[in-house]
Structure formats: structure tokens, C-alpha cells
Symmetry: D2
Subunit: 342 residues, 4 copies
Amino acid sequence: MAVRAAVAGASGYAGGELLRLLLAHPEVEIGALTGNSNAGQTLGALQPHLLPLAGRVLQETTPEVLAGHDVVFLALPHGQSAAVAEQLGPDVLVIDMGADFRLADAAAWEGFYGSPHAGTWPYGLPELPGARAALEGSKRVAVPGCYPTAVSLALFPAYAAGLAEPEAVIVAASGTSGAGKAPKPHLLGSEVMGSMSPYGVGGGHRHTPEITQNLSAAAGGPVSVSFTPTLAPMPRGILATCSAKATDGVTAESLRAAYEKAFADEPFVHLLPEDQWPATASVYGSNAVQVQVAHDTAAGRIIVISAIDNLTKGTAGGAVQSMNIALGLDETTGLTTIGVAP
Amino acid sequence: MAVRAAVAGASGYAGGELLRLLLAHPEVEIGALTGNSNAGQTLGALQPHLLPLAGRVLQETTPEVLAGHDVVFLALPHGQSAAVAEQLGPDVLVIDMGADFRLADAAAWEGFYGSPHAGTWPYGLPELPGARAALEGSKRVAVPGCYPTAVSLALFPAYAAGLAEPEAVIVAASGTSGAGKAPKPHLLGSEVMGSMSPYGVGGGHRHTPEITQNLSAAAGGPVSVSFTPTLAPMPRGILATCSAKATDGVTAESLRAAYEKAFADEPFVHLLPEDQWPATASVYGSNAVQVQVAHDTAAGRIIVISAIDNLTKGTAGGAVQSMNIALGLDETTGLTTIGVAP
Amino acid sequence: MAVRAAVAGASGYAGGELLRLLLAHPEVEIGALTGNSNAGQTLGALQPHLLPLAGRVLQETTPEVLAGHDVVFLALPHGQSAAVAEQLGPDVLVIDMGADFRLADAAAWEGFYGSPHAGTWPYGLPELPGARAALEGSKRVAVPGCYPTAVSLALFPAYAAGLAEPEAVIVAASGTSGAGKAPKPHLLGSEVMGSMSPYGVGGGHRHTPEITQNLSAAAGGPVSVSFTPTLAPMPRGILATCSAKATDGVTAESLRAAYEKAFADEPFVHLLPEDQWPATASVYGSNAVQVQVAHDTAAGRIIVISAIDNLTKGTAGGAVQSMNIALGLDETTGLTTIGVAP
Amino acid sequence: MAVRAAVAGASGYAGGELLRLLLAHPEVEIGALTGNSNAGQTLGALQPHLLPLAGRVLQETTPEVLAGHDVVFLALPHGQSAAVAEQLGPDVLVIDMGADFRLADAAAWEGFYGSPHAGTWPYGLPELPGARAALEGSKRVAVPGCYPTAVSLALFPAYAAGLAEPEAVIVAASGTSGAGKAPKPHLLGSEVMGSMSPYGVGGGHRHTPEITQNLSAAAGGPVSVSFTPTLAPMPRGILATCSAKATDGVTAESLRAAYEKAFADEPFVHLLPEDQWPATASVYGSNAVQVQVAHDTAAGRIIVISAIDNLTKGTAGGAVQSMNIALGLDETTGLTTIGVAP
């Protein structure tokens, strides 16, 4: 019996990627597709790469349209999910791809998003300690942000194993799809091709408190986070370069052992062989995470680098993975670790 | 019972794309992988996006290694397939992704490739008139070149329906993976990013006789072909802009009707709605072909534009599609019309 | 004594490129800069690459602001130049970088632009027969479109020498800056990187009548033009692939001789050595035009390929070159044939 | 009286960029051009963007060929400069664009480069404390590496002013031209477009000791450096994200004041207005450095981000700037702070 899924926000990049994955998911039947400003248009005009859905027409995002599904994915602007979720009833699995329910700290939410905190849902990054169990059977899931996915998976094993001092420094490069489909001058192809540029520098990016939350939980105490995101001239992908001072006694061997152990049973996280480094091209369109670690003895730091596809593992793939767990399906159903390269 | 497949030439772009598709093919079990200069290396080092095969080691391309498979794919340099194919026996399905067996005209072969003509095998572009039937049950398949795939699918309906004068003018842009993985200065990222450039101008490209062969067959008489390939700053994709003088009496309606009819039952060729034009991004990683037609009444020409992924429908996807037909499987098994975008 | 120049429309790509060139022009002093929707902003925020002008503030485009200059450049949306030009007086050199005064055929203007025809000014492509003389001392210049620049320079020698039949087929690829700086969804970096796509197919592009006008003038009779523009994943550059049936008796030698003769004294047009083909990267940021010709004897066609920078020779460089001629300065002042590569 | 300049290594990216700048330098006459493996070829074939030099033929790199010039630029592989320099005589200005004479610490040189240390020359980064004076009248100049240029200019003011703890963490993204023109598989366009990847992680990059040397000099004591370079999908540009713990009492105001003071008289370093961040596109082809600073009070760190063109200010522009100083010319002669954008 198929799982019937609706997607609210089907015209954007997150919604499009989700539909790409759901079309390949053997247990899912795609139901209602909504998109407010684009309601009435065909998906063929908005997502021309999704040929099997080309004739589908977007509807308004209303409780009536979203009713009657087993799963409802919300790919809405930040702050709009709570109102929609309330109307869906407790038995529907609601998977929020926005930020509304990611943070436990109401003050952090309000400081970074400027609106009242809506609550906290089980967090859709099953690789984190305890996260998988919280997702099993849950009817509500908060899908992590793309940067927090890349960064948290890179650093949590070091913090969980006590190998890193609680001051993390992170510089991450993201493809432009992370900035969404709303046209803005600085996102024009003419502007981004050939250019690297930072934004949200100095702690201002909204993903900072989410990263802090995850690393602090892994460390069992507060971790301070210096996070600098940069925009890279590519459509997809995140490369996160993460480092912290090594605690006393850390060696290259103990560092690697901690990561081997942390990811030994993970289907999507791949610690690369010692001489190989992650590249975003290798995870293009896949749900895989590539990770590599190094111990810089001269600087006394551990460096961990991860690569993900921001739209797949960083958004829609993480959402499908969480859905699988919540519904009791095999976690890897409909997902792949095979990238599209070159 | 699984189809056991070997891939000779697994380290290049065609071989890598083929493996990406075979990994997702429910009827195929991946057997021997070979690559002469890279024999002994792991696939993880050469094709880091194919995580499930990361530990596989490349072997030498020998008859012994390739023995015992149901299907052998040859992704070898032009001119090397015949010698390998001879040793494989008549009961093995051999699918040549090189040029060796594409041309019926021995003189054209020798003029463009400079070596003796090896023969002619059933042509792996099932959408062409008569091609599908020739592939059914065949033990030998010559996979078309990437440009001939894009161009022939764009123009054969016009020639088959008598709508175009027999002088075709084609300008096509290809992503850099079409030029292969052997490092050459003009293919460096520093050179190709930000640059469009032509090559093989004036009839010199090796795909010209193959296009001529296909269009002449569709027209039932000789078609002259002016073909100019250009290198575009993107990894994948072909956009083929094809035109010819319209024959007397052609109208926009008759033109469109001919294309609707030609592609009505084709699972992979998609004639776009009238106001929409192909884009290579929409077929990234998919086996789909997007086509659109126009009748320029002022210039008296029909213009047909097609977009494919040169590595998928243009090479490895075409190979898998042909394998499915040759083996009696559903033609679409393991293939998708869903692109990875943006 | 410096030439004092104002730029109306300084916030867009054409205006920015013009300022880049004027800053390097030894005879020009940059005066008023205007931009309606951006009036009041600093140029540093809008054109951060023009550091020497970072503190300049954009003004409204009014006759008062534009008064008191020797030259006024109009980089305005199509259809807005005539009203501004009228108010500038007959003694000011007005250089229109828009389309308003390019076409001699009022019906063609009205058909393609949908507004009344404003008139015809001397055409700022001095390499065309007779054009240079018309520019000398002129107080009004219509700068050509970027595609017409690339295409007309590629084909006029063949038409002027009677080497080509009067049916030209042109496919050109342009960088995204040709589409301007106004944010539109299909121009987002996420959409254009990795993608080639056509637009204005079938004769619909506004540059078609301008190309037709130029080639017909060179041929001394009507030339029909099939023109297909495509959007390429790069910020700048046009590669124009142009062909036509060769007239009787054309040889590779006669073709090359005609082009050598046509460009022998041209400072900016460079016929490449016989084994070398144009690449847009080679003319990045320069006013040079690279051209190469071929005679395809099998198809009976001549193929001419040109590469320009759409913003430099295709817009702002052409404007400065025309200004130099109109003012009696050396034509090459402030311009270069040196590209920025790789 | 013109300065006569020879360039050894004119076929590579550094040599090509140097020639681009020298062609625009009013005091320089370009003399001998050499390139060993390419000797005998025309520059037009190797550097097709340098049209004015298209007919020049490369010669062998011999003392005879290099004799008779006022300045000799060495754009040779690391380790080859010393032998050539020895033969040039003490009165010739020799500007080494390789690494041979950058490091004062012979052990660091031998550890990172694996060959005997050749010596230490005045360092061609005039913005560093004391550097300009050492260059004046010097006959030998060691041009800095591209990363050290970007990083040292970003961080030296903080260390010189005592605002940063002596543990710097740097993540930098570079365009592919930084990796040179020798064709290698991982530098193919197919591989780099759409991909971000790190290399030399954990302190292994050869620019690490050079950065350490510069920052330690500014701090007046040892600074440890964690440096991670990444390869970005663009031809040119470096974006360096640099941070360190703030010392006690640092404020956003004191931080900004230190940078304003450090760069107040620098013609090429531009501290951006407070709300604007560097982008590599803005310095494309220019000798400018864009810098911005932030104080992250939550993380207790200062973050400084700089953008340069790795080939211009990072290599050839730095070389010309140093030449100007050494020869007593105006430091900015032949150089620009105007980028080519978009």
C-alpha cells in the first residue's frame, strides 16, 4: 500500500528536489502539489526536469488540498510552517523542510528569525546521537538546514569522543541553489559565475545557532561556533571545512578511529580512504556525505572536511531519509549514494 | 536471474556513467571492470562518485577477464573494439560504445578514422525508423555518437515526412565530458570556464558521416550536412540547433504534427509544449531528449532544437536502452526521464 | 582638454562596462552618472569592481543633470533614448547604446519593438563599408547590438565579395550579461550554470532585422537571415557560427583572401592563422574580434566564426570606438585588443 | 627611456598575465620571451588573448637570450630560478615569481620543497611593514605566493596592532589558474566545474610557512597557522577567510580603526564600507585587494576576508608593482584597481 505524499511548495528548489526523489521512491505515490504564487501553473513550466509530472497543475496551499495524505512535506518560507502544520492533524506525518521547528532555544530562534518560536520537533539528522530513535514513529520531523547537516556530521564525532576543544571554526562554501529560486540581483548567473563571496559573516547566519545546538549536544557542554558561509560558483553542493584545537593526547590514529567508529554503520556517511579528500562533484544528486579528517600537529588542530549535496542530503534527501525512519521503512529506500559526475 | 555485465574501459567518463546506470538497473549484476592504464587501481580513486563500487579493483582488458558475462560493454578508444569483440564469442551480447561499428560506408570510415573498417552492427538508436527491430535479439550493438544522437533525433522526423530540403545545417554545443578524461591543455578548467569555442569546423568532425548516414536513411536519399560542434563551459549536455529549408507547403502545424506523431510512443523523447524550449540542465543525468520545433516563415526554414545529456542518452543511457531491447527486457528498465536540476 | 562624458544608465552592465573603459581613456573625464531606480546610491554598491568611482552617487536621468557634457552615453532600456536625446541639443555627441536608432526600416522597428520608430542614426560599427565615414564628425551614434556586431563582422566580407548565397544561417551563443542585470528566474546562477538553452527561435529575436539590414547592405540586395541565439553558462562573450551556401567558384583560397583584404587595416578585427579558431575567452574584456573562415566543400558552404566580448566590442567598446571617430581622436584610444585570460 | 624586460616562462599562466600587464605598462618594452618545452612556437598559439604579441616566437631559456635586459622576470617551476638568476649579473633587476627566495628559514624551505635553500630576497609585498623600503633600489625581488598575498594582507594589521591571538585559522578558495597550465586529470574542466574540493589539508601546503613567516613578523613573535586551501570552480580569484581569537579589549571599532590605518595610504588595498563584503569577481584582472573585517563577539574572534585576483595582485601584478618600486617608478604605473565584471 503506497504512502501518499503531498508537497507544499513544489515550485522551489527544495520542492523540486524532493519530487525528484519521491518519483524514484518505490513506496510513495505523489499526491497534491501546491505553490501559492504559482498555483494554476503546470509543473512542466516550473520544473522542466521532472518530465513525468510535467502535466501536473499546482494548487493553492490550503488544508483542504493537503488533506487525505499520509505525509505532507512543507517546503515553505521560514516562519510559515507552523500555521499549516496545525491544520493537518496529529496522525499525518508532517515533515518541515523549513527552519521553524529546528531550534530548542526559543531565544535563539527569536534572535535570528525575529518571530515567535513555534516549538521543537524531532530533528531529521538520524546520524546524530539519539536522533534516529526520536524519529522512529514520530509524526513530526524538522529537517535540518543544509549547512548544519554538513557541519554537524563533520564535527559531532570529534566532540562526542572528546577530541576537540569547544571552539569550532567553520568556513563552508555552498552552491547557489541554497539561496533559493527567488530572483535577486546578486544571484544572477552573471554575478555568481567566476565569483566567490562571503555572507552572514561574524555569526549572523541563521544556521549558526543550529550548528551550536548540535555540537553542544555532542560535546555535552557549550561549544562556541565561528561560522562563515560563502557562495560558490556552482549550482549545488556544500564543502564544509571545520576545525578545532585538538585536546591533549589526540593523535592522527585516535582521530581516525573515532570517525571510523562513528560512521561504521551509517549507510550514507562515507569516511574516505586516507589519501582522498571530499569533492562536492562526487555527491552531486546523491544522499551521500563524504568526510575526511586530518590532524595538523604544527597548528595543534583537527580539521574535518565534509561534502554534501545541499539539495539532497542537505534538504530533500534528509527529508526522505527521515520519512523512511518515521514510517518504519528501510532508511535507504529511494535514496542513493551514487553521485552524478562528472 | 541477473544479467551479468562486464565493462571494458571503466575508468573513463563513458564507463563511469555506464556504471552509474547499471548500479541502478534491477536486472544487472556488475561483473568484471577493466581499464588498461589504470589496472590495479580501485574504482574509488578513479570514480569517487560511485561509492558502492569504491573497493572494486580494475583488471586488464583480456578475453579471460571478460569471459563468463552475459553482456560486455566496450568503452574503449576508437579502433580498439573490433579486436576485443572478436574474442568474445557469438553468444555474448557485445555493446560497443566506440565508433568502430557505426558506419556502413567503409570509405567514410577510413576517411575519417584512418584505419580499416571493422564492419557494421545494429545501431543503438531505437527511435530511428527500423532501428528498434534490428536491435531485438541482436548480439551486437553499435551505440551512436553523442552528437549523432542529438541531431538525428532532432531531424529524422522532418526528413521522414518530407518537410525539409536535403541540406541540413547544424550547430551543436557540447559539455566538456564529451572530449573525454585524458588531460589536454585546452580542456583544463582554466581554459574552458567562461569560454565557447568551435572545433572540427568545415566538415572535419568524425560524427559528420554518422549524421549524414542517419538523415539520408530517413530522407530516402542523400542529405548533405554542415555540422559545427562547439565546446561549452559545462561538464555535460548537448544542445543541437538544427535547420533546413522547408519544402513547399510546410506549415507550423504540419511540422508540429509530424513531430508529435514521430515521438508519440517514444518513452524518452519529449516534444515540449509550444512555448517552451529545451535546456541541457533539464536532462542532466537523465535519458530524456527534449525537442522543440519552429517554422521561420521569413527565412523559409524549419528549426529543430534538441537537448540531451551527452553521457546518458548520448552514450551510456543509449547503451543500456539498447541492451534492454536486445535482451528482451522492458526498454526503460533502469533508465529515467528525470533530470537532476538545478 | 578633456572630453567630458556623462553616462545615463550607469548601474547596469552596459553602463558599468562603459565606465570601466572610460576610466582607462586618457582623453575622457567622467561627469554625471545617472540611474533612475538606483538614483541616490553609490556606485561602489552597484559596481564594486570600479573602485576609483566607488564614492560617486547616481543621480536622476534629467536634462539638467546631463547638461554641460561633451558626450552623453545612453545605456537605457530600449525605447527610452529618443525622449532623452531630444533634450540634449544638437551640439552634444549623443551615443545611444540602446536599439532606438539602429534600424532604417520603420516597419521592422515597429514589428519587433512595438513602438513608433524614432529615426536612424549613423551606425557605430565602423568596420562595415561606409560606416566609418558616416561616423566622422557625427553628433549622433547608434551603437549596434551585440549579436549584430559579431554576426555582421563575420559575414559582411563574404557578401561584399559575392562569395555567399543570400540565405545566411546563424547560431550564436551569448554569455548571460547580454540579458542584463534585471533579476529574472531563468537568469539565476542556479539555472544557467551547466545549461545551454535557445531563445527567440524562428526569427523572433530583435537583433534579426538589424543583422538582415547589415548583410543586405553588404550584399547589395536582400539577404534572408535565420538567426538562433542561445544562452551559454558564462558571464560574457559571443561565439557566432555563421554559414551560407558558397557561390560558384568559391575556393578556400578566395574565401580567405577576401577576409584578409577586408580586415587588413582594421585595428580590432583579427583573422586568425589558418589552424586556429576563435574562443570567447581570448577576447574577454577586450575590444578585439577574432574571426576564422572555412570552406566546407562537401556541404558547399562557407562557415565563418567570430568571437567577441558582448559587453566590450559588442556594446561599450563599440561605443567608445565610435566616440573616438566622431570626435576625431585616434580610433583605438582607450581600447585594447588584449583579453583577460585564462 | 624604456625599461627593457625579458620574461622566462612566457607560456604559462603567470607569464601570460605578466605580459598582459607589461603590454599596458607605459615604461616597459617587452624583450625576449622564453619557454623551454614551447620554444619555437608563436605566442599566438599559446596565449591567444595577447594579440599584439601573436607573432612573437618563444626562445630557449639561456643566459644569452636573457642578456641585455634591464629586468628579467622568472616565471619558472619552483627550484629553477636560482640557477638562472646566478647567470644574470648583479646589475640586472631579477624578479622571481617562483618560490625559491621567499623563505628566510632554510629548514622550512627544505622541509616543504625538498631541495637546498637558495637564499632570501627582498619580499615583493610592499604593503607589509618594512617591505616597501627593502624593495627600493633592490636588484632582486621574491614575489610572494598568491595565497600568502591574500592572507598576509588580511591578517597583518590585526597582528601588528595586537588585536589577534597568535593562532590563525585560514580557509581560502582559489580559482584553477593557481594550479597552473600543465594538464592533470583533476584540473580538467569536466572535473572542476560544479565542484569544490580541498587539498594540502593539515598544514601540507607549501604556502603555509610563507604565511607563518609573514604573520609572525607582523606579530613580533611566533604565530601558528592552520591553512586549508580549496579549489573553486572559477578560472581566477582567491577568497581568503581568516580568523583568530580576539585579544582582550578588542571591539568592532578598534578592529576597523586598525585596518583603516593600515591601508589608508595603500593604492591597491581597499577596506570596503561596513556593509559590503569582498567578492573575487570585483577584482578580476585588477591589482586591487578588497578587505572586510568583522568582530564575532559570540565566538570571541575577529574575521578578516580578502579577495584578490591570484594571477594579478597574487602573482604578475605584485611583480610589476615590485618592479616599479625597485626601479623608482610610481608604484601604480601600468596597474589598475578596476576589475573586469561581471
